[in-house]
Symmetry: C2
Subunit: 209 residues, 2 copies
DNA sequence: ATTAAAATGTTGCAATTGCAACAATACAAT
DNA sequence: ATTGTATTGTTGCAATTGCAACATTTTAAT
């Protein structure tokens, strides 16, 4: 995945960010910052620390949707934060630089540095669109088994590995696939009993093909 | 929805496109152009004419996924064209200008015109991400009824209208919702019989709330 | 080490769904 | 107007699923 400051050194990073009329914010650990970042034109760069994007699913459970570290960026649109049941919480003391599209695009000191930055930003958008399309391809399958197999196949194609580590919890995984956790659990057991996969905690090993 | 040449007049449009080291292509009506546009870095601007993006669903039916007119743009990533069962077909004699990210981003004549163009491009990406998130929100609902109601509610919020015109066919609509067409038909009938909606051909009228 | 809390696993059951097979209707071409 | 084709509607049925209720295991806290 492209990082926003890829090929940009620290000195230039701050030079760029300063020029965008951006503001610096500091938050303590475990603070909800959704209200600061919800504006649809906002883009937030994580300078120090990390945040998690969580979502309350229909059962009312707060599930981790994503975890973002320093040098990563997020925005309302990228993570659908306008949706009522999302929240953004700092995982540690965190420093953000917050700006918006207009200020980034209007930046006048056009140079190599800026070009690299804009290119990285496009690539991040591209990656996001790709991953959303990917998820749609998975959840568009009609049965739980086919959703799982589509997920496995995609993982295999991308990582060339038969070992899949479930990030976060099985509940979050089920939410990603838009299915009931216990029904997924049942189907994983079926796949295991039929010899297609092996399950060791949060590692699933593909035994087929 | 943002158009790529919004706030850019025709003269400047061509000036911009020429400067991106872009090539012009002409296609006859009803030509498959997927092979010309499939490269993931490609961006295609429709100068004249129109194209449809189609997708062969699991039943083997080719469904219209989207229809794009002149002054619109598309690209492999934006429409997931790498996926094996997509195709792009011209609906009339069509002229395209095809370029790629690198050439757009590296463009050196930085000026107001270019700024507007880049801003429009970002907005289109933003719109795309929004609409993908929207679709995921809809298809993540667990029952056909809830998918339909979520779609209706979103439509109502966005258009402030109780009349919904189904674009393309009911089959395409079912594909968008990732459900079986006949099961959807049954559920629409239920909603009708229970007095929630009225159906007149491809117009659905919301009677609730 | 003990206890509490959170996460994961299991299972019966009713509701929902996909699928197949077919009927009815709308649309297009001559 | 007639014929053929594509789209939409209907329905029975078996398979799948969500849900609830509960058991077991893992993790975290003291």
């Amino acid at each position: 995945m492209t990082k926003i400051f890829e090929n940009i050194d620290a000195k230039n990073k701050y030079k760029l960010l300063r020029s965008f009329r951006a503001d610096t914010y500091n938050f303590k650990k475990n603070t909800s910052i959704i209200n600061t970042v919800i504006d649809p034109n906002t883009i937030c760069f994580i300078i120090k620390g990390s945040v998690k994007i969580i979502r309350n699913n229909e059962n009312g459970n707060a599930n981790i949707f994503d975890k973002l570290d320093d040098n990563e960026l997020f925005g309302s649109t990228l993570y659908n934060l306008n949706d009522i049941d999302y929240d953004v919480i700092t995982l540690e003391d965190t420093e953000l630089i917050i700006t918006n599209y207009n200020d980034i695009v209007k930046y006048q000191g056009k140079n190599k540095l800026y070009t690299v930055f804009i290119k990285n930003l496009f690539m991040i958008y591209n990656d996001k669109i790709k991953s959303l399309n990917e998820r749609i391809n998975i959840i568009s399958k009609k049965t739980i088994r086919n959703k799982l197999l589509e997920f496995f196949n995609l993982h295999f194609k991308k990582n060339n590995s038969r070992n899949i580590y479930i990030p976060f919890s099985y509940q979050s995984f089920a939410d990603y696939l838009c299915i009931d956790r216990t029904a997924m659990s049942r189907e994983l057991k079926n796949l295991k009993d039929e010899g297609f996969i092996k399950i060791t905690g949060k590692r699933i090993t593909l035994l087929y093909k």
